[in-house]
């Protein structure tokens, strides 16, 4: 079962944010979506996570359509938004338990899951700390742990390492590498080295359209460039000339 995106389109008052996007993402794949600001990455994530209705097209998420059965799709996925989306006055443990419960866990199960994820994400010693007291790195870890607690089959990570120092970013990369292969991960980021380190395949969006798709090696071959940064610049520069 895969994610099959077919002609997915979203317009806002005549402006096209996502323009007939078509691609397939395999189950368990770590897929990175790249693009400049306003390229349509976040809108794509919102469409795929049923936060927005598409103007046209559809996406079948592991067997269920985002247009016809968004509630079934929602049960399969979770999201770690660009902002950390952590409840400020709830403790680390309470944040995790809250998300587990709204996805259907009872009190006991929610506590068990929260403890497991706090250990996995290195948050156990801050279990009682309020969200507002966490450092940027810990807040990001909590944000991803909150997305993982519902045991999703698909997780969307929208710029998960933005604003983190080098050490916190590398720590988070390790956590993401550990998740690789277990669930389908769709990542958006501006950090190209992050994509090189983590992603199985890369999609490059520009002005709502998919301009390139493939593994890093495939993109290197397509463009004749050795670095992802040069590949990205070449593809988006060509798009500007067009």
């Amino acid at each position: 079962m895969e994610i099959v995106i077919k002609e997915l389109t979203k317009t806002f008052k005549g402006r096209i944010a996502v323009d007939h996007l078509s691609l397939t993402i395999g189950q368990g794949e770590f897929f990175a979506l790249l693009g400049e600001n306003g390229a349509g990455k976040t809108t794509t994530i919102k469409l795929l996570s049923c936060l927005m209705k598409p103007t046209g097209g559809d996406a079948v998420m592991l067997g269920d359509s985002i247009v016809e059965n968004p509630q079934a799709v929602k049960k399969k996925l979770n999201i770690s938004p660009q902002e950390t989306a952590v409840a400020r006055n709830l403790s680390v443990k309470e944040n995790l338990e809250f998300i587990a419960k709204i996805y259907g866990s009872d009190k006991r199960e929610a506590e068990k899951k929260a403890n497991r994820l706090m250990n996995k994400f290195g948050l156990a010693d801050r279990a009682k700390s309020k969200g507002r007291t966490l450092s940027g790195g810990l807040e990001r870890r909590l944000s991803i742990a909150m997305a993982m607690i519902s045991e999703p089959e698909i997780i969307f990570l929208d710029e998960p390492t933005v604003g983190l120092d080098v050490r916190a970013r590398l720590d988070l990369w390790q956590i993401l590498l550990d998740l690789k292969g277990q669930i389908t991960i769709i990542l958006t980021t501006h950090y190209l080295e992050e994509v090189e380190a983590l992603a199985d395949r890369i999609g490059i969006m520009h002005k709502g359209r998919l301009h390139a798709l493939g593994t890093l090696d495939e993109l290197k071959e397509q463009t004749g460039q050795a670095k992802l940064q040069d590949i990205f610049l070449q593809l988006t520069a060509e798009a500007k000339i067009q």
Binding site: S49, L51, I79, T84, A87, R88, F98, I102, G104
Partner: protein, 241 residues
């Protein structure tokens, strides 16, 4: 079940904010005490505890509007709302979850204000029991305004909107002066809004004048239904992106 889980989270968010205690509890009690002291030197009976306490309880509900609006506004700006919109929760779960924890806070405000008024010398009346019910219905109006502000404005805008709102609710409610002292257009405008009716209903129920409660409460409930309706419509629209 999901709505209750969400309500618990919202209750914790609100009650763990020290501003809730300061504005929602301490400020109304302080005003009750100050104005009741002023009553001794006033030539008319506006600031007697029998008139002041029911009006200040309604005034304290204005802060419920602030708490609700700020919570939803912050949930939007921090993308917390986006995270839970992606969950299988339904629109009614959100609205019940936001509105429900405010009712116990309103109850606390009612009991704290009435208890303080009793300590300051207000005579105890059995009419305080039905008054609690009437006041909880009035509190829904202010919860509705909070849902409305939170749905349509950001957390920063909610702060600015609240400054206007609290002025309207106090000046046009007859809490600090009798509206017929000014009369004319001012009084007519005040009675086109629900706040003066809310204060009238609160004073009437505490006075045991049950006949005078019905019409003002009709105004309050009609406004509550309209404000809730607009907030629900706006919230559902936002959920659909």
């Amino acid at each position: 079940m999901r709505a209750l889980t969400f309500a618990v989270r919202n209750r914790k968010e609100i009650l763990r904010d020290p501003m809730t205690l300061l504005f929602g509890m301490v400020l109304p009690l302080l005003m009750l005490w100050l104005f009741s002291m002023m009553a001794e030197n006033m030539p008319f009976d506006l600031f007697t505890l029998e008139k002041l306490a029911p009006a200040i309880i309604v005034f304290s509900f204005s802060f419920i509007t602030l708490f609700t609006g700020m919570l939803i506004g912050r949930d939007k700006s921090s993308s917390f709302l986006m995270r839970i919109f992606a969950s299988p929760m339904a629109a009614t779960d959100y609205l019940v979850g936001y509105a429900l924890p405010l009712l116990p806070i309103a109850f606390l405000q009612i009991t704290a204000c009435y208890g303080t008024a009793l300590l300051l010398g207000m005579p105890f009346t059995i009419d305080a029991i039905p008054a609690v019910g009437v006041l909880l219905i009035i509190s829904l109006l202010y919860i509705g305004f909070g849902l409305f502000f939170g749905t349509f404005f950001t957390d920063r805008q909610v702060g600015a909107m609240f400054a206007i709102f609290v002025n309207i609710t106090t000046w046009l409610s007859g809490t600090w002066f009798e509206l017929d002292m000014i009369g004319g257009t001012f009084q007519r405008v005040a009675y086109l809004l629900p706040f003066a009716h809310a204060v009238d209903a609160s004073r009437a129920i505490f006075a045991g004048d049950y006949g005078a409660v019905f019409i003002p409460m009709l105004w309050v409930m009609a406004y509550t239904a309209v404000i809730f309706g607009i907030a629900v419509w706006g919230f559902k629209k936002r959920m659909r992106g």
